[in-house]
Amino acid sequence: MLEAMDVSVSFGGVHAVRAVSFRAEGRDITSVVGPNGAGKTTLFNVLTGFQKPNIGNVVFADRSIVGLKPSGIAALGLVRTFQKTEVFKGLTVERAVEIGTTCGRDFPMWQTVWPGAIGRARETARNEARRILQRCVLEDVAGEPCAALSYGEQRILEIALALAARPRLLMLDEPASGLNPTEARRLGDLITSIRADGVGVILIEHNMQLVMRISDSIIVLHHGEKIAEGTPSVIARDQRVVDAYLGGSGFAAA
């Protein structure tokens, strides 16, 4: 579904990502792990069009997406969240998700004067939003302003907003950071349920317990390079991975 080929990014001579290749399948949870500064978010930015790679290609759904705008990539079904929580702060939860559902849909200007067109669009948006809020267990806070939500709820809301864009492959950047164990478990369940719906997930995450529990395959980045790839059980035994994590946050301990 998504394939990165020899992707390299450097900032002023410093390699953030170096010749990384990998594939993520459309029905899998693929996790990208690695110590801080390993280039995970940069890789995400390349895959979603927020950063141009110096070299390399990214193919999604059988077409190269390098050079497309983030919105164009999102429209193809590759939708991301951000490491730092990003929501539409001034809007209510319901409204934000409603808006999210219409973002990828074409609505030409002339339709604004077409009787009923706006009402229909709004109805569709409202139904879709209700469905998404239900599935993310956010219906109780639907009327609240996004900014009034707890941190944990905001992180879930981000996923709800991403789901509103109708992804075929969902990319989550550290969705569990800052969540307590209960919230993290809830998040894990949400992610697996998304996979169950046939939507692939690529996950950057430091919470190794979560990663080991739900991933189908794991990619390990270190200093911008891919040092290992495989199923959770393979990765846990990989000597290079253990070495890379030594001194930092102990991999075995996590």
């Binding site: 939708v79 969240t81 808006i99 973002c103 200007m109």
Partner: protein
């Protein structure tokens, strides 16, 4: 959307409509009708500026330039080709919109201060052109002799709009139409994308909003209505000059948007009406007028950034005791 309009709103709308329709009978004198017509023009300007400032979060300081471009286009088309307002309205709008599109190619790639500053500079460029291209614009003297239109279709009664009263009704129809369309744009998926742009540009992109495109849409449509208002103004006053480009006009429009409440339609409408009447009421202190205005704007921006609409909502919440969030 119809289901969302409550009974009291319908009542308020009907009463307002009725008052607007009989207004010329109520106020009678030409002077007050003049103020009414000018405030209608400013209603278009304020609501169209709100597309950018309120809904899209782009603080543009060149709205009056689009107004002026529309007015000049209308004036020139009338003076050279005897085109009536029926055509110059659209020509003025399209001309202003085209310029906005071109300018957008340049300035919509920058945000924040650079965007704001560039728009100020652009308005000045417009003024310099109007001032210096004397062959076309007669420079400082301005263009005069632009006449109101005459409605003359076979089989229908002929209406001459040169009387204040007739022009009032014309402006009322045009303004109502414009405000309705602006309302529909801002409350359609297009407007929702503008909100996404305003609230969080990166997230909007990630959600599939082509932010560059929606910013352009906002900029161009906002300019279209400003240009159209320019034509309505030109055919009413019969006179356009480079002064229309003055920053003071943009400030006036901004005060209207902020006074009423940005990011709403009713807000700028109220703001425009109030702020056209208020200066007239304050005529006694002509010398201190702009000082008073700027003080009002200052206080509004610092202490009541949500404007009158926000104030009403706060009062209503206090009485109803419910936490309703302002419909953006």
């Amino acid at each position: 959307m119809k289901s969302r309009v409550s009974l009291p709103s319908w009542l308020a709308l009907s009463v307002t409509a009725l008052i607007l329709l009989v207004l010329p009978r109520l106020i009678g004198t030409d002077y007050y009708l003049h103020i009414a017509i000018i405030s209608l023009v400013f209603v278009i300007l304020a609501t169209s500026l709100d597309i950018l400032v309120g809904y899209s979060g782009l603080l543009s300081l060149c709205h009056t330039a689009f107004f002026a471009f529309g007015a000049y286009a209308a004036a020139l088309l009338f003076l050279h080709f005897q085109m009536s307002l029926w055509l110059t309205m659209f020509a003025g709008g399209v001309f202003a919109a085209s310029i906005a599109w071109l300018l957008g190619l340049l300035v919509l790639s920058v945000r924040g201060h650079r965007f704001i500053i560039t728009t100020v500079i652009f308005a000045e460029i417009g003024r310099l052109i109007a001032y210096n291209w004397t062959d076309l614009t007669q420079g400082q003297i301005g263009l005069s002799g632009i006449r109101p239109p005459v409605f003359d279709l076979p089989g229908l009664p002929r209406i001459d709009f040169s009387s204040r009263e007739a022009y009032y009704y014309l402006a009322l129809v045009v303004t109502t139409t414009c405000v309705t369309i602006i309302w529909r744009i801002t409350h359609s998926p297009i407007g929702w994308r503008m909100l996404a742009l305003r609230e969080n540009e990166a997230l909007a992109e990630a959600s599939g909003v082509d932010t560059r495109r929606i910013a352009t849409t906002a900029f161009v449509s906002s300019a279209f209505f400003a240009g159209l208002a320019g034509a309505v103004y030109a055919h009413y006053t019969g006179f356009v000059s480079p002064d229309l480009f003055y920053f003071t006009y943009t400030t006036t429009m901004l005060i209207m948007v902020f006074l009423g409440g940005k990011g709403t339609i009713i807000g700028p409408v109220m703001g425009a009406v109030l702020f056209t009447i208020l200066p007239e009421a304050l005529r006694v202190t002509a010398n201190y007028r702009l000082m008073t205005f700027s003080a009002i704007l200052l206080v509004l921006v610092v202490f009541a950034p949500e404007g009158l609409v926000g104030l009403f909502a706060r009062i209503r919440r206090r009485f109803a005791g419910q936490g309703s969030v302002q419909d953006a």
